[in-house]
Symmetry: C2
Subunit: 373 residues, 2 copies
């Protein structure tokens, strides 16, 4: 993997870069739509390519349980299985497993958990997390980490960070042992909660292990937004400039703009796709909830400023009808719009960085985007 960092905003810490991966080039900053079960819900790969999606995130936890990573491996890996020829990043499964609060038990060796599908028992270790992602054959895989919630005490955060750092070393070691073709890349994940000193220690230890990219984990887990931005701002200077930074699970379009201004390059979030299926549609001035009766006869598009194929073709009245009638096409069209909106935000981010005026986009977003929950 090669990461070119070829431009900087100058006024903020925003950066323009380019990731060269086995399945193609990804421009940064980048947003990765989530394809949990080897499909971005309701989208065909053709539709994703038309939307100019450059890279997807898939979830190891779900694919490990169903259809099983051995099945995916037998069918040629995730790219072949789901007919997606562009890059894929897989998470380690850790976040999902840690979210199964009643069904899992953590030790220094790994996490024992019960499947949410059938209650069967499984044991996830740093080594098996790498093996699973080897089977999936993603372009970028993630280390298994101990995912802390919010709030947490400093002692809890320290323990979780310590364990995550040991696991990161074990992931790296197992990754190198199993490195057959050399096309995959393993990213490290920072932990340490909202404690700046722990975050800095985490960064130093990951850098000592040496990864081609660094993710900021354990944020967007319930802490106030200003605190999240503060953690990012204070850790950014401790991360190597020449490596990509990935803020996991974030966030709203405004969050992404804020984090880009703090030097983050990569993002993923279920928000555009999940909100789409619930009829929540993003616009430059906020959002609309398409089920509302006021849209019954509304001939306007979702957003008159939007150039997406849905806004160029369909009225709010039709989209409201599809939602009210519980039609599958409702999810399809809403998802196209919301992914387009996110990727359009990303395109604007890149343009403003290249124009060295990113502070203007930041000001616009702060002025016009109401909070999104």
């Amino acid at each position: 993997m090669k990461f070119e960092l070829f431009d900087r905003d100058g006024r903020t810490r925003a950066r323009r870069g380019r990731l060269h991966l086995a399945h193609g080039v990804v421009e940064t900053p980048i947003f990765m739509p989530v394809g949990t079960q080897a499909t971005v819900k309701s989208m065909t790969p053709d539709q994703l390519r038309d939307l100019q999606v450059e890279i997807l995130l898939c979830n190891s936890y779900h694919l490990y349980l169903r259809p099983g990573y051995e099945t995916v491996a037998r069918l040629g890996g995730l790219h072949s299985f789901m007919a997606w020829d562009r890059p894929i990043l897989t998470d380690s499964g850790g976040y999902q497993v840690f979210s199964l609060s009643d069904l899992r038990n953590i030790t220094d060796d790994g996490v024992r958990f019960k499947s949410h599908l059938d209650g069967s028992s499984h044991f996830l270790t740093p080594e098996t997390a790498v093996d699973i992602q080897r089977g999936l054959d993603s372009d970028i895989m993630m280390c298994l980490d101990d995912c802390l919630g919010y709030p947490a005490t400093q002692l809890e955060a320290e323990k979780s960070m310590e364990r995550s750092m040991v696991w990161a070393e074990r992931c790296k070691s197992h990754f190198e042992k199993t490195n057959a073709g050399g096309r995959q890349n393993l990213f490290g994940i920072l932990q340490g909660g909202v404690f700046h000193d722990l975050r800095r220690q985490s960064a130093e230890r990951l850098i000592a292990v040496d990864f081609p990219g660094y993710a900021i984990g354990g944020l967007a887990v319930g802490e106030p937004k200003p605190l999240m931005y503060e953690v990012i701002e204070r850790i950014e200077g401790h991360l190597p400039d020449e490596k990509p930074r990935y803020l996991m699970g974030v966030g709203t379009p405004a969050d992404i703009v804020e984090a880009v201004a703090l030097g983050v390059d990569m993002f993923d979030c279920v928000m555009p796709t999940r909100h789409a299926r619930n009829g929540w549609l993003f616009t430059r001035t906020g959002h609309i909830v398409i089920r509302h009766a006021k849209y019954k006869d509304d001939p306007d598009p979702i957003d008159t400023a939007c150039a997406c194929p849905v806004c160029r073709t369909y009225s709010r009245a039709y989209l409201r009808h599809l939602f009210a009638a519980n039609e599958i096409l409702s999810s399809v069209l809403n998802t196209i719009h919301n992914i387009f909106f996110y990727l359009d935000t990303i395109r604007r981010i890149r343009q403003f960085i290249e124009a060295h005026r990113f502070d203007e986009l930041l000001a616009e977003v702060r002025r016009e985007s109401p909070p999104v929950d």
Copy 2:
């Protein structure tokens, strides 16, 4: 509307024709996928065009209740509302209303029924059925008829046929009164159950009213298949040669081939789309049920003989995974395959008619297609 009848098989009664409608030309024999609520479930209009869908059927009953035909009319009619620029045929709503056995009451004037959505009371007459379809602005609209079930006595069938013929006259009369632009067409519908004499009377009375096309209604309602074919065979000679014949709600690919051999030109059925969502996939040698465990690691396409985009791209293993994981993309891909299969059958039907060897296709279908329920 112009109907060109430009070729005949010769060995059977199969015909090749062409319908010229306001929104385009439709080759016959034709199969019309069903877009009940102004959407073919899970398909975008682009996907339907890619599949070479030439004409859709939409259901007046559903659209009358939701979003309401006045809403559709205000938004420019069904074509504009659902962004489908090719021809549309609408049914009258009669069949759906008559299927609400506990919720409707029939008189000579019309049918009082309760909405399946909210229990509200409505009255459908031959005149309102035309008004609704005027609002929808379909290329072809259908007369309101009294839809008989199976079995029924000769007396019941006669009464239902009589009422349908009176209603056909009223539809025609109201259609002419409301004929502003002249782009729509009204088809008559034969009734008479499985009684040949009643069917002949029905044909004569409809022909006396004079319609640009004739539908055969009241079949595929539970009667044995050989009886259905017999009714079609015996009525066909009583229908004008130069007008299109439409067999409503039929059927399997084999049924369509059989009916084409008896001189039928037009078909609609929910089977390809509904079966798709249930994981029932058509193949030249029958079907497969994609949820079966035996497909878990199967790298083959649904049908190795199929040239559809799904068979060219995805394994049975992936399609089985999507179905098992209850993913929306399962419905999308299965629907693409099944519609392609139906339209591919239609393309083969046309080729065999033009080659004047339709009996060979008929023999192949009788040999290779197991019954489909």
